[in-house]
């Protein structure tokens, strides 16, 4: 009996928290059929927002993958002063609110800061532009790749890498032929997780982008803007698209997640 009540409670909880809201979005989106949805998603602003989102996400994923693999190898394979500090710093983005991240980036790279002013004279605009949005997205999704790889690297040990060295492989060949295949599953998992986070990021990007329609507007910002302008159907259509992408990435992570005892 208690078992059934527990199941019912869990199900009801998920129903009201997840399934109902997301289901309603889907239902409201497609209430008038497919045509208006397609129309609202193919408007120039919508397409531009998608392009910006993808561009920012790809940059963030690439940077976080390179940094993540490097940092993970550094943390697991090397001893150096400041290792514990680096380890703690990597988790910082999880603790800091994205809005704070955005404001901090404006403070550091805005027009009136030293670095920002210097970059501005060099012709690079960071804040209210794509570089700043990439920075913000990289910041909030920083730990995802590192934290996915570290346990797998630890479990793998360095025996195989050392064996490769004695067989004549240099550092790069060892990395490419032994380390990467060894962490492939975890790396894929981390990348997909990072991609999902990057596509859905709102807070930090909202602050640094300046929300310039048709320029620095990402899909999440597009949803908000259309909703505030009473274009409810467009907002819902874009939101459905985001939800769909999220579900897809979730499914991919299911497949890629390192299996236990493997």
């Amino acid at each position: 009996m208690a078992k059934w009540i527990l199941r019912l409670v869990a199900l009801a909880y998920l129903l009201f928290l997840l399934i109902l809201p997301i289901g309603l979005i889907g239902w409201r989106t497609f209430a008038d059929g497919l045509a208006p949805v397609i129309e609202s998603l193919t408007s120039e602003e919508a397409l531009h927002a998608m392009r910006v989102t993808v561009e920012v996400a790809i940059w963030a994923v690439v940077l976080n993958t390179v940094f993540g693999v490097g940092a993970a190898i550094l943390l697991v394979r090397r001893e150096f002063p400041g290792k514990r500090l680096l380890n703690a710093l990597i988790d910082l983005p999880l603790a800091v609110s994205p809005v704070v991240v955005g404001l901090a980036l404006i403070l550091a790279y805005g027009k009136y800061s030293t670095v920002g002013g210097w970059l501005e004279t060099a012709g690079i605009q960071v804040i209210f532009s794509v570089p700043g949005m990439v920075l913000a997205t990289v910041f909030v999704s920083l730990p995802l790749v590192v934290r996915a790889i570290v346990p797998v690297l630890e479990q793998m040990g360095d025996d195989q890498e050392q064996a490769a060295r004695t067989l004549g492989a240099g550092g790069w060949a060892t990395f490419r032929r032994i380390t990467v295949p060894g962490i492939r599953g975890a790396l894929g998992y981390g990348i997909v997780l990072c991609l999902a986070r990057a596509l859905g990021e709102y807070g930090a990007v909202a602050v640094v982008s300046g929300k310039i329609v048709g320029e620095t507007q990402t899909l999440t910002l597009f949803v908000e803007e259309r909703y505030l302008n009473y274009e409810v159907l467009t907002a819902f259509a874009a939101a459905s698209l985001l939800a769909l992408v999220a579900v897809a990435t979730l499914l991919i992570t299911r497949v890629l997640r390192p299996k236990e005892g493997n």
Partner: protein
């Protein structure tokens, strides 16, 4: 000399692991680095391979100073205790790895790998993955992989340590035969004196980061340089303040010149061998526990019983060392 290690020292943090170690390994020999765990033998092997850098001293391989060479330039084969199999590669690809890195032609690689797989009796497993092999098979694969690049020296770090007793014995006989076929200078680390005596033609005893003695198994057994070496190379016991091998003690029922009186505490029958545990009372020393190894026939001839008083003496040819 295939390998010359000169005055090598190495510390991990503040713990010295190797202190001024010098070792010569003759070309074509099969040498055992024998010693208790923590004695520095694995570290010495890793220094030879280039996997550890010594704090001081030099390593020369085939006449070339290799002290500062990275492992991939030393042309050594290294076999790890836990196999270090490349898990994502088939047996064939594992063995081919070193040759692929050296960009040898495909046909040559296939021929060489097939030869080696035949040598280690794994030819029917070439397309399997390491996870599908037993421990002994994995270790043979690792050996083939190390041999594939025709190394100047083959280094094995407790190669049979992770295997069960049966497979261990098989593999060490097999290693001996392999060495007779391939003739590559081989150094292997072990803490098992029987394994070292059985397989190698020279032994280096390493303890506390120092070479205790080096020589042929026979030399080490017949002329141990210290009580430590003697006790490490086989069972020993103490009689009258001296270290003696338990099969070198005579049990007599009546006192004779030079005998020590003793009481039988326990008699253990181990098949053919009988182990007699006694308490000896020599004039000068405090009572001490002694054990004597006799054959079943001798034990029966003496009609030994627990509680009997007997008289012990080292046989004339016995090797004994003062402790």
């Amino acid at each position: 000399m295939a390998i010359e290690v000169r005055d090598v020292s190495k510390s991990f943090g503040s713990t010295p692991v190797l202190k001024d170690v010098s070792v010569d390994i003759t070309s074509g020999s099969l040498t055992a680095l024998l010693g208790p765990s923590g004695g520095g033998k694995s570290t010495l092997l890793r220094v030879i391979a280039g996997l550890e850098t010594p704090d001081a001293g030099t390593v020369t391989i085939s006449g070339v100073d290799a002290t500062r060479l990275s492992p991939q330039r030393r042309n050594v084969g290294f076999v790890f205790q836990h196999y270090a199999a490349f898990k994502h590669m088939s047996v064939f690809r594992n063995v081919a790895f070193g040759l692929e890195i050296r960009k040898r032609p495909k046909a040559e690689i296939r021929k060489r790998v097939d030869e080696l797989l035949q040598l280690v009796h794994l030819e029917q497993f070439r397309d399997r993955y390491p996870a599908q092999l037993s421990g002994g098979q994995r270790q043979r694969m690792a050996l083939a992989r190390a041999l594939a690049v025709e190394p100047e020296v083959l280094l094995l770090d407790e190669p049979f340590g992770a295997l069960d007793a049966q497979v261990r014995k098989e593999l060490r006989t097999w290693l001996r035969r392999l060495h007779d076929e391939v003739h590559v200078t081989t150094v292997f680390v072990t803490h098992d004196q029987e394994e070292a005596m059985d397989v190698s033609d020279s032994i280096v005893v390493l303890a506390d980061g120092q070479v205790q003695q080096a020589g042929t198994p026979q030399q080490l057994y017949d002329e141990p340089a210290s009580p430590f070496v003697m006790s490490f190379l086989g069972p020993v016991t103490r009689l009258d303040g001296r270290l003696v091998r338990p099969h070198d003690i005579d049990i007599a029922t009546s006192p004779e010149p030079g005998t020590v009186e003793a009481t039988v505490n326990r008699i253990v029958h181990l098949g053919f061998e009988v182990r007699v545990e006694l308490q000896a009372r020599s004039a000068a020393e405090d009572p001490e526990d002694v054990w004597v190894q006799v054959t079943r026939g001798t034990a029966e001839g003496l009609r030994l019983r627990t509680g009997d008083t007997v008289h012990l003496r080292a046989i004339p040819s016995a090797l004994s060392l003062t402790v």
